[in-house]
Structures are given as structure tokens and as C-alpha cells.
Symmetry: D2
Subunit: 497 residues, 4 copies
């Protein structure tokens, strides 16, 4: 595919790039508001073609010994590393996060590729001999068949990589449906997998919106759906996919609290908060969006926090510069965030840092929102309850650790809670009582590495088994239990001694 | 509850027996067609009361150290063993299977109680220290909250025991909704758990039909549903439960093939088949209902198979006698089975043993169907495709191993396939290629012991995680991932050396 | 054995009690200095007889399905609980620790019995199918054969229970050789196992000293030796046992430090220290024997520590009273401890509490040493370096956390280090850097429950695999790896379709 | 090291190649009997220097996050693959096996490198929270320190790779001491690891004989010894290493039986036997050296077996040709094998194929022994009992399966037993009853891939934990158990809310 521009977006079905379509989505470069790529939208026929390709490739792929399958992922890791800088630049261009943030997210994705390489070490079944009456037991894992990943715009490499490396290494074939807002990096990942030696049909990518999603959700030849996105869509995916009898794991949104204790070290806490709140322009489901603490704790860190936030630089991310903060993904999203900020003001929160309408010298047309901080936010305000997905922080003041935990646990979401403290007791209290699946003790973005599950709880996840770790493997495999005995029978005398 | 008859059926909610209701279901003793017990049917209010009791009991139970929780299950095992004979008699009376079969099923259930005792040994989370930057990882399992089990009539002890011991030991609280057709044994199990020391509200039982099921499926305070029953209902449960955002594991029906190879030893194979086809009056989802083989293989065993089947005794199971075959669970079910037999005749299968209208000396009013065998059944006949759940065997003749496997894999169900052979190669062929989750090599009823999952595939199971084994545990727990670091900060100097 | 006094000591070989011998050891009641029991010492012939009994019992026991073996341990747990009070009284009488301490140690032992019951859940082997060329892999655990436990006087129930339940449940047969100083409880444990249904020969006990140990170490029919005792003997056992080609796990002595940080809460720390230093009269390898800290930290807790230590009561433990501190196990041991105290004085440590020659009203002839505290102990003094195994505490003052850790890690032993602090950072520092296998964060006696290994490092352990947990299981089992394929060969056509 | 010949042999200590020495061993090319390389023999000072280098490198390496350590092994895999052909040629030249056999052994070694890459996925410790009283448990693995591998001549790449990748990935530093008879490939492996980025001192290699071994066995700064070689030396290593307090895993020799059943397919069985008996010139501890069976079974395969053996080609392996059989490693070894053949004749076995003094056209001076077969060997003959380590097969005839198993189990060795059969029953019989750690069912050389332990039993292994798999990891790591609680103490009020 050498003579195609890196900004040409194609489907890849059965190893072939397909860039024709009846309809296209124009994704704008968020830095410039000019068209970056025209995304072909898949027809129902093309979706079905992808499913049939994946189905046709399944038998042989599933029957390839796992240690052979892993060799392809070792090569994939190598290619991925060779292409690292180019992937990062492509990602920062189409998404808007800066290239260092892009690289960080690629590294997390790379860890899942490494986990895929390691899968032979954890794929084993079990035995128990002589359970009674000469019967021996054994189990074996088997792949499911055709699996699907539907992924959001905010991590166009990492989130697809949460899904397909483990699924494909486990012997499944796969169809990726990324967000049309960041299609290029995802497509490049699929392309690279082919270059690493993945047979045609094993990993496919199709672009599209709700129609494509619905076609996948109801297709009888698909066994499992992995999804990451907002909570309403995650719920919909879970309902529709399971309604069609499939396995579904669907990660939704979040509203993550950081509890600052009065004994938290100021500088380290502020640095961690800045990164967690404003990193990736707040467009991540692990971002801290609420800081909670007593007056004593808040007042101790707030001056510094505001000061550092004010100094963050904004700029374009599709070139050589590396600003702190790039544009958000689209004009619509920018306006949505600005709407939340206005809502915060209207509902009476104290806007101590306003990021609206920032001046960005090198990107006057980009979709920028600067760092925004609200103090004295009440728990029932909209900005305290809804996921904004932008660089907006709400500060809630409480009068005790108990009240802080109570407030945190009122959230319908259950991704992450972070505490900043030096006290073992305070840390254990949060670790034990926070009703969420990922806890950071002085760790601003407690998104687990691939060896551990991305373990959303409550409305942040629908399903039984999360991506990554052995849960990811369990999700895309099933077990066969064999019970075996051999008769010691005179009738068989002729074929033994 | 000493002065209550063993045939009095009650709900048990928050530790209290409740036998009042506005409506009742009259369960007839299948041996005599007389009323055995009046089953109170729960109102929506009572269902909600049970949920609230379970919800209220959750916090303290979940917070009880697991090694303390296990002590109750050690006592439960002891009480269960003490009551073993009485439980078996109660079960054979209300269900119709003979007391030896009842005991066999109780033993399988007991194995799950033992697995529950063992849970502390497998409940552990994981750690990885110094993942980078001084960050340590750890995970911990947490229970989900209120869980529900909805169980069928055919194994009123074993199937509930697949569910609640692991769930409750894992820290959940539980509501059991058994079949109204066999409510007594299930109720006794819940009662016994209270006697073993389970706190009120931790394990509850309510009786009812579809209304009660629907109330449970949609109740917002319920986190997870376990179900065993027919495939249409399993699919419904999966759809409705997941639609309400819950975890669901739903086992459905089956149509299990036994492949007889020409080198199978005759006597052992026939004995295993008889037990698998006619045991528990065929009312089990692991029963062999189709035998498949070449003419050579079939003709080799058929005379003996028919001969042994003909000699099986029928009789009542609510007294001291132990016939080979008891009554099926109800008049309706008897008629349903007879309908299938007639259908087989009508569609042209060769009825070589007809079990309809048997004479049963000690139980003239019982719901009996005797051993029934059809030869030369075509794969597209109704009796070859639908689950009959009675003592009816279909024999399908094929001309090669490949065709046998192809025919087996056409089944929409995926519980069990059995092969009878002395050949390692033939056994491995089936083990590898049969598209089902439980395989017997010369084992007639490959229902796994509790250490292994009851691993239905295809339309025999909806969900990700099966009952029993670590899958059962994973189903009813979620993981919290903690990422931890401690700042080395001059600001903290005062509280260290 | 009903009409035998509980103070009659016998061997048990092949299920038979043997109380005759040519030589006996007279064990004195440490409370009264009068003969409690005459311990028969085994001749070489009797040792060999025990080995032959264990060897003869092995094949059938190893071949008994593990789920059947576990039933015996469920019964053993029940009998153990039924006899709990009697066992505790017997233990406190023959050893000298108070009955509450005896009960505590029995509970820890009981946890290992429960782990034994759970062994089926963790005994499994592994599979990997289709590794290439149609080859499938599987592994299975097998027991080793005859195993031996050689145990010290200080925990006559808990330490034998670290060893034989797991070994025997794993399918081995076993010979226990307890300390002649506390033979009665150990013997009762073996007797009870027979009552629980363990077949004759599976678990045997012989009494004796070095000659018996040497006979066991060199016997060619013994596969593995487990030992707990002092470091010189542990090293000897490791050298001699391995020299004879056996597996050996040998736990030795310790010199455990407790680091007190300036932010440690005073009362809780003092209470934990008192229990750790003086509990079980200091006769345990997990006892704290050195407290280390800065002047600020030490001076903060020392007044309270001394004050509480002074108020501990001494008294006899063979009756109804429950003093804080009972007698040490023998006159010789008492004199050895007193020698260390004198040495501390001679070498210049500051004796701030002297426990020598205490007045004990109800036990004037008992072997008592009261709580003893040395302050300002130098690291090179004898009392800072050698294991005293009595109620003697040394306090070492340092000027930084780094120096404290350096001093702790100079110890040749590696059992436990404890830190008292509220700081997560200080705790992590110790957790990470203390060169020992068991760390307590505000836990005075970090002896792990049975699900975790008793993980001595350095001179506190010789071998690869510790007692308890999966390490204990791995120690007494070996794995068989099976690689399997089946030829698809025309020559075999006749026996398949 | 570019300008050094590939046949220059050096030590590598602390990253530096050292080719000077006071003494050298001249290793002859076994194809030509001319000097291939002069092996420098390490002085005691150099051995100590290597230990000190490894010790010095330990702290930083152990503290490098495991996911970072793994990156080096990913690179090592890539370099190894790039050098694959050159390594194979070097190996076949210095050893004498043909280049295809060399490649086969490299592939097995590569699998261990892949396992090393996978170690992060299996390195985890465990947690159990709230065990009681607010106490949480966690464990962590730690490396041991300096580890040593002492390896034999027959697999100069594979056997070192059994050891150091896992040990080094686990955080240990390592000293390899290969056989002076095949030093070049091993040295190249260590060199390559440096090129992959392993820091100096982490992996060292020293050459030498018994003096070097003894220096390593007794050095106080070495924690663990891995060994593969003959049984007498393995026993010596185990005794001496453990005597010095170290962990030891020592694999010894073997005498592997293949049981041929009367239903074994002739061609496949013969092919598998030829490869297993004569492959790698019989110089492997997994080679079949005895075939056992009934007259019927033996007579069925023997003509073909002899016929194929006779046609095997002999030739030199240091050039472009690929003969079936190359030279044995040395003149001494050739004479030793010839001595065994003469002994077989002298003791009355029937020599049906005599491989002595073969004519090898392209290697008239090479150390060749051709395929040799003895029929009607009696179990007590020398050739039936001792490990010959050459292309010599003994055939023992028995009259029943039971007698065959009894004869097999009389062997003092316990590496491998193979059975050739199509019967599931016969296979299970061997699988269950053969007293050895590796069983082949129609698999000629059941040497497990890296995910499974190389599991010698009896005199084929001394120690607890074998190389490869989780056993290999357990051998070179120890666990720290942390018990943690946090006081809720009013004295601490000031630092919390």
C-alpha cells in the first residue's frame, strides 16, 4: 500500500484495502479545521463481506498451533516499534493530543501486544487424573469464532489494541470498527498486522457509524463484541449484543474523583493532578474530573494547582511542536465542553480558571478549550455529575473522610478513584471502600498495564469480563471439558498383549 | 421448623419461613398423582422483600473475612451429610427419580459445597511490584451484591448447589427461585444453610412462576442471574437480565450424541448407554438422546442394548423400593414425551422399543414412560432435533467417522458428546472436533465434578462464565485493581526520620 | 486407646501404639519440675519398621482418588475441633505456654488442615493441545512416597500440622518425629488422624533424638524431609538429607527486628510489641527480639513498653489459671536464657528490666524467666546477634531509617521484620528492602496463615520450597509430563470406520 | 568482537571477553580430529572475579522493572533468529550432530527465550485482603542473587538456554560454565545477550573443568546451581551445592525405554524410533536406548527398523553436507561406546547391526560410530543398564504388558518412557504407571517445550524444581509475604481529617 497517502482511509477486508464507498465521513484535522481524511462508510454488504471473510479464515487460524500464532505477534511488536514515531505523529494529527501523549498511549497498546506474545504461557487447560473409577479429566481452551471491536475516538491505537491482539492470538478472527473521527491510526494498525504475517481475513477493519454497529450487533455469525465508549452507548451495545445471544464486554463513561488528603505532598500532588485532569485534553475515561477534600486540604494545594494549570501551553499537534494541550477532537465536542462550562457558571459554581476561547497562535482555527477549574462545586450540579470529556475540573469541598467517600460512592460510574496522601491508613480506607474497579494511591491515572484488567464497575462497564489480563483471554475463549476412561475389556484382547 | 411437615413448602426470607400466599401451585406426587405439597407463589411484594433482605445483609456478609465465611460451609457440609438419606428420599418422592439417582445427584451437589469450603485457597488477587516509577500493583476480588438462581425441576438439589454455595462463599447474598414442580428439596437446602449458621438474609428462597422470574430479572438491586432450564427460557433470561444491565449465566437444553465406534467393547458400552439414556428417566440435559454409528458399529451393540433396556424395571420411588425407572415429573410432561414418540412413528422412524403406557404394578396412577428406542432415525426428524427430556433414544446410522462428526456438529446445542472406542485416535478425533463443551471418552454422562466448569456451548449456554470451578467464582466476583506509589517528598520530612 | 492416660507417650506405627522401648526420655512438667511423661525412644529397628509401614501403605493411598482422600481430612477437622479444648490443655501443660496461646497455635494448625481439605482445588495439572504436529501435552502431579517431618518443642501441634496434612493429602505417607520435650500433643494429633479414617501406615510417629533423626536422614526409602528447628540443626538436616539424595526443606532460627518509626501510634505499637516479644515466652522463631529506632522513636514508646512489660503476670499453665507468661520448656533452657541476660550485662547493655529469678506464687519450682529488656544494645553484642528464644528484648538505637535498614539486613537470619508506622512510604521502604521473607506492617507476629508460605530467607531456611501454600504442595509432589499423538495410519484401517 | 575468529574461545566476565589463561583445553573438531579451538581454563581468581561481577550487577538489575528487563529478551530473540543459521553451523561443527539437528535444538532453546519474554505474565504475587482484624496479605517474588549453570557437551545452546533466560529475566545475575568440549556456541550465546542490551555482569561465562565447578559449588556468594550431566556428577553437584547451603537442581543421565505394542503402526513407529535412537548420534538423555515388547510386537517392526537403520548415512557435519549421522564428540567417547558394544557381544546379546569402524568417505579421521542394534538383550546385561550415550539400541523381549512395565520401572533412571500403540487403554496404562517424569505416547523424544518442566524423576534428577516452566521460575525466585494493617488511632488525628 506504498503509493497511498498516509491520510487515505480504507477498509481492510480479507487482506484487501477498499477505499470506495457510496458515502463518506469527512474528518477534519482538529488543529486546522480542514479535511484530513475522507472516511468510507461501510455498506451492509461490506459488513457482511467482512464477517464472511473472518468466518472463512477462522478454521485454519484456530487450528494453527498457538506457538506459531505467537510468532506473528513477535513480528508485529517489532514492526510496531519500527513505526513508533510515525504512528505517534499520525495519532496526534488526527486526534489532537500531543505527540508525547500519543506515544504514551502507544506504549500501553504495545504492552497488550506483548501480552499477546505471552499468551502460550497462560493459555493452558487443566487436568485431574483418577478422579474415581479410572476417569481422568482435562480441559482445553478454544476460541469463539468471529469477534468484533467497536472503539472510540480518544485512543485510536490503545483501545483497539486492548481487544484484537488477545482475541486473535487466542485463535479468533476479528473485525475492528473504529470511530470515524480517528480512523487512520486504527487502520494503520490493521495494515501492520498483515505485514507481520497475519493471514487475510483474520483481522479486518470496517468504518462506519450506527448502521454498521447495528449490522455487527445482530449478525448471526459474530460471537462476541468488545466495546468502549460512553455509558448510554455501552448499555445499548450490551443490550443489543446479548439480545442476539452474543458475549459482550462494554466499557462506558466515568466521572473520576481524586481525594486530596491534608497530608498530601503539594508539588507531587499538583503535578499528578495536572496530568490526570488536563492530559490528553481530558478526553479519557480515566481522567480526574472532580477533586474532593476538606477546606484544609483543598486550600493547601489550590493556589499551586491553579498556577500550574494557567501556565500550560496550547498549540497545534500535527507538526513539530509539542504543546501541553492540543485541540479537542471536533468542533461539536468543543461546543459541548463549552456548554458544560457555561452550565457550571449558571448553576453557581465558582469558575476560577476559564479555558473558553483561548488564543492559540499557531492554530487559530483549531478546536481548543483551555484548562478550566471550578471551585465550590455542589454535588448535584451538572458539572459534578456528567462526564464532560474535556479539560474541566470541578472541586468539591467536604468536611470529613467519611463524607468524601460517601460522595464518591454516590457516583453511578465506577472507573477510578485516586487518593493523594502519605498515610497508609487513609490509603487503605480508599482502597477498601471506593466502589470502583481501579484505585490510584498517589497515582493520577490508574489505568492498569496489560497484565491487569481494565476493571470498570457500575455504569462504567456492562458484562462479566474486562479487557486485558486473563479476563480478556477468558472473554474470547471457551473451555472444553473432557472426561476419559478406557475399558479393560476381554472383548479387546486381540489388540493388546 | 421442627413441627412443620417435610412436605410443607415455604418461602424463606431473611431467615423466616413464610407459608402464606394468595396463590398456590399444587405439586402432585408423580408416583401417585395425589397432591404432595401446596407451593405458595410469591407476590411482587414478597420478591422485593427478599431482595431488600439480601441487600441489607450484603455489607456485613461481604465484610466477613472469607476464612470465617468458610467455617459455615464446613458446617453445612456436615449437616448435609447428616441429612443425606432424608434429602435423597424427599428428592425421589417429589421428583420421581429413584433414590440411588437422587443420592448420586446429591453427591455432585456436595462436591460444590466442598469447593465452597475451598474457596479461600483460590480467592486470591494478584500483585506485581515495581512496575516502574516505584508503582506497585495489586488486585482484590469483591462480591457483586445480590445474586439470583433460577433452577429447573430435574435436579432440585444439585443445580441450586451449582449456584449458591460459591456465590455466597464469595461474599454475595442470594435468592433462590426453584421450580414449583420440585420445591421441597431446594427449600430444605436453604433451611439447612440457616442451621449451619448463615446469617438471615444471606440466602433466601422464593417460589413462583414467570411473574416471579420477571420481577427478579428487572429488579434494580440484583446484580447477577444464574439460570438452568430449556433453551428458549435460557435465551429469554439472558436477554432480559442483560437488558437490565445484569450479569447472566444461562444454561439451556441439549441433544447429546453418543458415537459408537466399531471397536467399542459391547458390554461396557451398553451399560454406559443404558445409564446415560434412561437414567433419571432421561430428564437431564446431559442424557444421551442420540446414538450414532455405522451399520457395523450399531448392529454390534443394538441387540444387547435393546435387551437390557427391555429388562429395566419401573416402579414408585416414594417408598422403600428402588426401581430402575420412576415416573416423569408430571402428567403434562408424560404426555409431551408420548407426543414425541408418536411423532417419531409418524415421521417414519423404526420404533423397536415402545415405552408408552407401561404397566407399573405398584404405581398405577404414576406418570410413567418406559424405555423407548427408535432405530434408523433420519437427522431431520423431530425426534432427532428436539430435546425430549425423557427415556427416548434415537439411533442414527452414518457411513463414516467424518459424517458422524459432521452430523453431531449440525446440532444447535453444545452440551455433551460421548464416544465409545478403544482407539486413541478415534477418541482424540472426537475430543478435538466435537463442537460442544463436555466430551466423554467412554464416559456416558460427562457432567464435570465441581472443580471443572459445566461448560455448555452454542444454544446450550448463554453468557461468558459457566457454573462451577473458577468460572463460577469469576461470575460472581469483580476485581479491584490498585496502583500505588508513595512520594519521597521533602514536605513530609517531619513525619519520618 | 481409651484406657491409656493422656500423659502416656507412645509411638504409632502402622496404626498401632507402641509404648515399649529400651530407653526413655523423661520430660518434666515445666510448671512443676516433676515427670510428666516417659518418652520411649525408637530403636533403629523401629524406625525402619515405620518406614516399611509407610512404604507399604503408599501404593494404595497414592492411588486413592484425591477427592476421597480429602473426606478424611474433613473428618479430621471435625475431630480436631471437638478435641480443641483438650488439645490446648495438653499443649499448655507439656510446653508451658498459656492455654490461650496454645489455642492460638492450634487455630493456625487447623488452617492447614483446611488447606488440606482444599487440595483438590489446587492439585490440578495442565494441558496444552495441538502444540504442533497433532501433539497434545498434559501434566499430572504425583506424590513422592515416604516423607518425614522432624519438629521442635515450641509448637508441638502447629508445626507438625504445617507438614503432614498437605503431604498426606497429596498422596504421600508420612513419619513424624517430634521433639521429645513436647511429645504428647503431637502423638495425640497422629492418633486423631487414625480416628478420622487415615489407613494404617499412612501417618506414623516415632520418638527419639539424634540417632532417630540420623536413621531417617539416611534411610533409602525416604523421599523427603521437612524440618523446623535451630539454624545449625537445619543446616545439618539439609546437608545430610540432600547428601542422601532426598528433597529437604529445613527452617532454622531467627533474630527478628521491629522498626519503630516516630509516627507509630504509641498504645497500639506497645501492645503489639508486648505480644510479639513476650508471647509464648519468646519461644518462637517469629518473636520480635530486637526493637530498632531513632532516639525520638524509642523514647516515645519505651516508658509505656517497660510499664506494660512489668505488669505481665507469671504463673503455672497446667491448670485453670491463665497467666500472661508460663515457664520455659526446661531447666536447661531457663539457664541458657539467664546466661544470655548475664552476657548482655557483661557486654555493657543497659538492663532496664530484669526477668531473672522471678517469684511465681503458684509454681515455685517452675522454669520461669520474666520479661527482660535491654536498652542501648550495640549491634555486635551477643544478645543482638544470637537467637535467645526467651522473653528478652534488645533495643538498638540508630539515627536514620537507612541505618536501621542496613542494620536489620546485616542479620544472617531472614524470617521476619516488622515496622510500626502510619506512613505508607516508610512501610513500603521496609516492605521492599528488608531482606527477609515475612514482613509485618503494624503486625507484630507476621506468621502467615496456611494459604501463604512460611517463607524464611537466608540462614532461616535451607531449601527451595517452604511449608504451607502451593510451595508446601510442590515440595511433596512431582510432575509427569505426557506428550501424546495418535498416528493416522492406513495400517490401522481395520479398527476404525 | 568483530575481528575475533568465530572459533576463538573466551570467557566473558562483566561484559569483557577474556581469552588469556595459564592453561587451555584443546577441543578437536570431531569431524577431522584437528584442533578447532583452544579453550582457556579459568583460574580460581577469574571464577571469583566473575562472581563478584555478577554480585555487583545484581542490585541494579534486580531493581529494574520486569517489563523493562523483558525488552532485552525480546531483542535477544530477534538477534538469535538473525544469527540462527550461523549458530547452527557453529554448533554442528563443534559438536558433530548434523545441522538440522542443531537447528532443532536451537528452536527448543528459542522457546525458552520466548518464555523469558513472557515472564511478566506469570511473575505475579498474590493478595488476600481482610484476612481478619483488618489485616491484608500480599506476596512478591524476589530474585535470589548470583546463580550458576553448569552444562554438558551435548546441547551447547539448548541446555544453557534452559537456565539463564529465566533466571536472568527473574532478576538474578548468572554465570555459565559450559562443557569445554563444546564451548563456542555457549560463548556466542552469552555474547549475543550482551549485544541485546544485557548490562555487564548480569550474564557471564567461564570455562573450565572440575576445579572451576568446585570453586563455584563452594563460593559463598552464589545462591543457586543448575546442572545437567551424568548421574554421578549430578549427584555430586547436588551434594556439594546443598552442603554449601545453596539451592540445586541437577539433572542426571537416563536409560529410556520405548514399549512397542502389537498394534503399533509399523512405518510411523519405525520412523519415530530411528529418530529417537540414532538422532543426535544418541548423545541425548531423552534418546530411546531400549526397545521392549513381546515377540509378536518386536518381530513385527524389527525387519523394517533394521533396514532403515542400515541405510542411515554417515558424514561430516562441519561443511555443507547434511548426513544422517555425524561423529560423536570425541575420540574418548567413541572408544567408550565401542567398549559398550563389545561388552554387549561378550555378555551374549545378539548383535544384529554393528556400527563400529564405519567407513566415512568425507571424514576418514572423524569419531564415528554407526547405528548399532542388539536383539535379545537380557535386563541384567551392562548394555541394558548403563547409559551409553551413543547410537546403540538394545531390544528386550518380554511376554506381557505387565512384565514390560515392571522391567521399565526397575530402571534407576526416570527421564522418559515411550509407548507406541493405537490403544487408548495401553497408552493410559503407561502414562499412569511408568515411573518417570516424561512420557511419550507415539512421541519418540518426549522432551517438553519450555512451557512445561523437563521433569526427570529418580536418579535422573536431584532437587525439587526442574528447569523450564513455572518450576524453573520458582527455582530462581523466593517469596516475600507481607502482612499489613493500619491502626485507627487517636494519636494520629493530626495527620488525617
Amino acid at each position: 500500500m506504498a503509493n497511498r497517502s498516509q491520510y487515505t482511509c480504507t477498509h481492510i477486508v480479507n487482506g484487501e484495502a477498499i477505499d470506495t464507498s457510496e458515502t463518506f465521513f469527512e474528518h477534519l484535522n482538529p488543529n486546522t479545521a480542514t479535511v484530513l481524511t475522507r472516511v468510507p462508510l461501510a455498506s451492509p454488504e461490506l459488513v457482511n463481506q467482512a464477517v464472511q471473510a473472518a468466518k472463512a479464515a477462522f478454521a485454519e487460524w484456530a487450528n494453527t498451533p498457538i506457538v506459531k500464532r505467537s510468532q506473528i505477534f513477535y513480528r508485529y511488536k517489532r514492526l510496531f516499534e519500527d513505526q513508533f514515531a510515525a504512528l505517534a505523529q499520525l495519532l496526534s494529527t488526527e486526534h489532537g493530543k500531543n505527540v508525547n501523549e500519543a506515544k504514551g498511549s502507544l506504549r500501553r497498546g504495545l504492552e497488550v501486544i506483548e501480552l499477546a506474545c505471552s499468551l502460550p504461557a497462560v493459555y493452558k487447560g487443566e487436568t485431574l487424573r483418577n478422579v474415581g473409577g479410572g476417569v481422568d479429566y482435562e480441559t482445553h481452551r478454544f476460541p469463539l469464532g468471529v469477534c468484533v471491536g467497536i472503539t472510540p475516538f480518544n485512543f485510536p491505537a490503545m483501545i483497539p489494541l486492548w481487544m484484537f491482539p488477545i482475541s486473535v492470538m487466542a485463535g479468533n478472527t476479528f473485525i475492528l470498527k473504529p470511530s470515524p473521527q480517528t480512523p487512520l491510526t486504527s487502520t494503520r494498525l490493521v495494515e501492520l498486522a498483515g505485514e507481520a504475517g497475519l493471514p487475510p481475513g483474520v483481522l479486518n477493519i470496517v468504518h462506519g457509524g450506527k448502521e454498521v454497529v447495528d449490522a455487527l450487533l445482530t449478525h448471526p455469525d459474530i460471537q462476541a463484541i468488545s466495546f468502549v465508549g460512553s455509558t448510554p452507548v455501552a448499555r445499548y451495545i450490551y443490550q443489543q449484543g446479548t439480545n442476539a445471544g452474543k458475549r459482550v464486554q462494554a466499557s462506558g463513561g466515568a466521572k473520576n474523583y481524586a481525594l486530596v488528603m491534608p497530608d498530601a505532598p503539594i508539588d507531587n500532588t499538583v503535578n499528578a493532578l495536572i496530568s490526570s485532569v488536563f492530559g490528553s485534553i481530558g478526553e479519557r475515561c480515566m481522567a480526574t474530573s472532580v477533586v474532593i477534600g476538606t477546606d484544609a486540604a483543598i486550600d493547601r494545594i489550590l493556589p499551586s494547582l491553579k498556577n500550574v494549570a494557567q501556565q500550560l501551553t496550547l498549540g497545534r499537534t500535527d507538526g513539530q511542536n509539542i504543546p501541553d494541550i492540543g485541540p479537542v477532537v471536533s468542533k461539536e465536542h468543543q461546543e459541548r465542553i463549552e456548554g458544560y462550562i457555561q452550565k457550571g457558571v449558571d448553576e453557581g459554581a465558582e469558575l476560577i480558571l476559564d479555558g473558553r476561547n483561548p488564543f492559540v497562535a499557531d492554530a487559530p482555527n483549531g478546536f481548543f478549550v483551555g484548562p478550566t477549574i471550578f471551585d465550590r462545586v455542589a454535588p448535584d450540579m451538572t458539572i459534578a455529575q456528567e462526564e464532560i470529556f474535556g479539560p474541566v475540573l470541578s472541586i468539591i469541598r467536604v468536611n470529613s473522610l467519611q463524607n468524601a467517600i460517601a460522595q464518591i460512592n454516590k457516583s453511578p460510574f465506577g472507573n477510578a478513584v485516586v487518593v493523594y496522601t502519605n498515610s497508609g491508613r487513609s490509603a487503605r480506607e480508599i482502597q477498601d471502600k471506593a466502589e470502583c474497579g481501579m484505585v490510584g494511591i498517589n497515582v493520577g491515572v490508574p489505568a492498569p498495564m496489560s497484565l491487569f484488567p481494565f476493571s470498570g464497575w457500575k455504569q462504567s462497564f456492562f458484562g462479566d469480563l474486562h479487557v486485558q489480563s486473563s479476563e480478556g483471554l477468558d472473554f474470547c475463549t471457551k473451555k472444553k471439558v473432557v472426561m476419559k476412561r478406557w475399558f479393560d475389556d476381554d472383548q479387546l484382547n486381540d489388540i493388546v498383549f
